[in-house]
Each structure stands twice: as C-alpha cells, then as structure tokens.
C-alpha cells in the first residue's frame, strides 16, 4: 500500500438546491487502500462517489483525486476512474459486447480486452443478447466489465455485490475486490462484511461524517448505530 493519498478530501461539500447532500467531509485514502462508506439511504454515499468520479462538482472544500485537484483538473481524472453505480450505465438495446466495444473505443482500449473480460465473467454465451434481456445479476457482471475495461487505478463501487449470487460475487472478486490491487471506495449496507474488506471506514449521516477511522479500530456496533 502506497502512503501517497489517492484521494484527499478536506471539508468537501455538495448541495442539491438548498440541501447539502455532503457537508464538510474530510478523508484521505492512500493508494491501494479500500475505503468503505457506510450510512443509511440518503446519507450522501452515492453523492460522494459521484463527486470523486467528477460527475458532480464539489460546492465547498478541497478535493484531490489521483493527485489532481477537482474540479480544476477533472479532465485528468476521467479515464482513470472505474464507476460501478446503481445503474449499469449501459445501453439497453445494445448487447453486452456492443456496449463494451463502445466503451473500449472511448477509452482507447483494444477490443481483445472486451473478449477477455466476457470470458472471465462467463458472459460469452449471452454476449450478443440485448442487455435489457439479461437478469439483474448478469447485468451487474457486464457493468463490472465496463467499470474495469480500461484498467483504472481507482474504483468507485456503489454496493457492488447487490444482485449477485455467491458464485458471481466470487467471479468479480479478482476484478474489483481487494486482490485487484486498486484503490477502492466501496459503499455498503453490510456492517460486518464492509468492515472485513475495509482498510478505512467512513460513516455518513445526513451528509456529514459520523465515523471516520481505520477499519481495525472501528467497533461493529458503531457502524450498526449509523443505521438506527
């Protein structure tokens, strides 16, 4: 694990209209580390991921992602981030292969990488079906392929194992799990499972930091308290 922060937020805020969805959030994530973000629905977890992905601009504080200040050099961050969001970010009428080839062209990645990922995710048999015909689990596997297609050093994962059965969860582990070697920010509603894979834990409530500590120092009860 590199000591240089891959992510450094100081007092970051983001509002929608008058409501602050993120307020005074500070956290530093070393390169190669995993930050797991806990919090009930509406706590600001997805907003945090979208700010880090450069899809939302911070309205306050300072944010550095992969060494680049946001939003000034957000263009230098794009293409180095893999986002796995609630939505698959895929075109429903295109097949998995067509979707991945499209993203491969945008990211200037060889098409052989698409075939490699389809193979690894056991998707070859359904690769030419429109993704609207795929089950939620298969769709999530295609979304994982899209997120790691360009081999990003930073992964932003919004409940990545939702809709996956244990076998599929195991399948995606080398690509987006701890063993992938990437810096990861993962949102989770599973206190025990989340802490198990975290180096750092961040708890959000109403957009504010309610918990921030190395995962080994965090008590499971403190995370569960966030949801009460």
């Amino acid at each position: 694990m590199d000591a240089t922060p891959a992510i450094e937020l100081r007092g970051v805020g983001r509002r929608y209209g008058e409501r602050w969805a993120l307020d005074d959030v500070s956290v530093a994530v070393p390169a190669g580390a995993t930050l797991v973000v806990f919090g009930p629905n509406g706590a600001g977890k997805s907003t945090l991921l979208r700010v880090l992905a450069t899809l939302l601009r911070p309205h306050g504080g300072e944010a550095h992602v992969l060494g680049e200040p946001l939003p000034e050099r957000e263009w230098a961050v794009r293409g180095r981030v893999g986002l796995l969001a609630h939505e698959a970010l895929l075109y429903r009428d295109l097949s998995a292969r067509e979707n991945l080839r499209f993203h491969a062209r945008l990211h200037r990645v060889a098409e052989s990488r698409v075939e490699e990922l389809l193979e690894r995710m056991h998707l070859r048999g359904r690769a030419d079906d429109p993704v609207r015909t795929l089950s939620r689990g298969l769709l999530q596997r295609v979304a994982v392929c899209r997120a790691v297609l360009h081999d990003p050093p930073l992964l932003l994962l919004d409940e990545p194992r939702a809709n996956l059965d244990p076998a599929a969860a195991e399948l995606i582990e080398p690509l987006i799990g701890r063993t992938s070697g990437r810096t990861r920010v993962v949102t989770s509603h599973d206190p025990a499972g989340g802490l198990a894979e975290a180096d750092l834990a961040l708890g959000l409530r109403d957009g504010r930091v309610a918990l921030s500590a190395p995962a080994r120092e965090v008590d499971l009860a403190a995370v569960e308290e966030l949801y009460r």
């Binding site: 992905a53 450069t54 899809l55 939302l56 601009r57 680049e68 050099r73 263009w75 230098a76 794009r78 293409g79 180095r80 981030v81 986002l83 969001a85 939505e87 698959a88 970010l89 895929l90 075109y91 429903r92 009428d93 295109l94 067509e98 499209f102 993203h103 062209r105 945008l106 990211h107 200037r108 990645v109 060889a110 052989s112 990488r113 490699e116 429109p130 899209r146 360009h150 081999d151 050093p153």
Partner: protein, 249 residues
C-alpha cells in the same frame, strides 16, 4: 494491468496524457458515439419514424387545410420548411434521451474524451436522421402538394436542405443538451429552439421559393444563401464554445 490495455496505452506517459491526447482528437470518439447512436436507432427506431410520420401527416393536413391541390413559390417553400422544422423538434427532443433513460450518459462523461466529441456525434446523428426523413418527406411533399415539377429544383433543394439540416443539427444539439437535465425537457426544446431557428427558417424558405416557381426553378438568391451559411458558421462556433458548459452539473 492487462496486456491489451498496456499495449494501447504504452505511448502515453500517463493516463492524464492519454486524456490530453484524446481531447486533441475528437473525431475518433465522435465516430464511436455516432456509430452507437445510429445502431440504437436502427435497433429500436424512435426518432426517424416519428419525424417521418409527423411530416407526412402535416402535408396531408396542409393539403386539406389550405383547400388546394397544389402549392408553389413562397407558399410551397414555407409549407416544406416549417414542416421540416417542426418534425426536427421531435428528433431534438429524443436526441439525448437514450443517454439519459438508459444511464449511458455518465459512462460517456467518465471517458477521457473532449466533450466536443459528444457534440459532433449528436449533431451528426441528428443530421443523418433529418436527411433520412427528408428523402421520403420531400417525395411525399412533391406528390401531395407541390404544383411545379420537383426535378429541376432538386440540386438547389439539396444544397438548401444541407444548410438547413446543419442549422437544425447544431442548434438542436445545443438545446437538447440544455434541456436534458431539466424536468420540463419536452417544453424547453420547442420554446428555446424555435425562436433560435427563426433566422434559419426565413433564409431557407426565401431560398427555396424560387425553386418552386410555377414557370420552373429559378436561381438561388445568393443573399439568403449567405445568410443561411453564416447562420451555420456562427452557431457552429457558438456551440463549440459553450457545449462543455452545458454538460456541467
């Protein structure tokens, strides 16, 4: 890093450098985006059939509403250009819908590409859709309404429609990008686009009028040709300058 990715990126000193390189060459991502839009329209046709049906229905309505079997001159030019303008509004409304409804927009915004590439691709897609519609719509117009023979007018009409389509595509893409993040998208597109397109409509109608003259097609008035070409140039440059800002949250 896997081999294909390494191979592709070996020439770039960093991912940031790759972003800069992509930003400097918007044509390659533009082609990928255009290809995707054309594929989506072919796979699940929406914009082209809607625009086409609207155009033909409008010609039929004009046919009965005007109470005339044939139109010519300025009236014919006006009926054709106004119909195409309103039909284009349908296409403009749908232009970014696939990105928004299918969740692909964020995927595109995360790619290391100049956002001008998205503008070029969307404008090109709209241009292609309009051209496809016009192939049938102009024929329907000639059959249902036009008095004089359409054949002598065709070369001039081709030039006018190319310039008009460019105006519709450029302004339409700008307005569609502006409207896509609002809840009232269907209202904003006609309210903003129609006034902006008035100069282009006037120029195209004035240009087309001599082509549909009863005695046969006359030469195109160069003044209106210059106005339409200048409109395309000005709005093209404006779109290039502001499109990035329209996509910011």
């Amino acid at each position: 890093m896997s081999e294909p990715v390494m191979r592709e990126r070996a020439s770039a000193a960093s991912a940031g450098a790759a972003s800069e390189a992509s930003a400097a060459r918007p044509m390659r991502p533009s082609l990928a985006l255009l290809r995707k839009d054309l594929l989506l329209e072919r796979r699940a046709p929406e914009a082209v059939p809607a625009m086409l049906l609207f155009s033909i229905t409008t010609f039929v309505l004009f046919h009965f509403g005007l109470g005339r079997d044939e139109v010519s001159g300025q009236l014919a030019a006006g009926v054709l250009t106004v119909t195409l303008l309103f039909a284009a509004i349908l296409g403009i409304n749908r232009l970014f819908v696939s990105e928004q409804e299918e969740g692909g927009f964020d995927g595109v915004l995360l790619a290391p590409i100049d956002r001008t590439a998205l503008f070029i691709a969307k404008a090109a897609a709209l241009f292609v859709f309009l051209a496809l519609v016009e192939v049938v719509a102009v024929a329907a117009f000639a059959i249902l309404l036009l008095g004089p023979s359409p054949w002598p007018a065709l070369p001039g009409l081709l030039l006018i429609l190319t310039l008009l389509n460019t105006a519709l595509a450029v302004v339409g893409t700008l307005v569609s990008a502006l409207a896509i993040r609002t809840r009232a998208r269907d209202l904003i597109v006609p309210i903003v686009a129609l006034p902006l397109l008035v100069p282009a409509l006037i120029a195209a109608a004035r240009l087309a009028a001599p082509l549909f003259a009863v005695g046969g097609a006359d030469a195109l008035p160069t003044k209106w040709l210059a106005v339409l070409a200048l409109y395309d140039l000005v709005f093209g440059l404006l779109a290039y300058a502001v499109f990035d800002f329209l996509l910011e949250d």
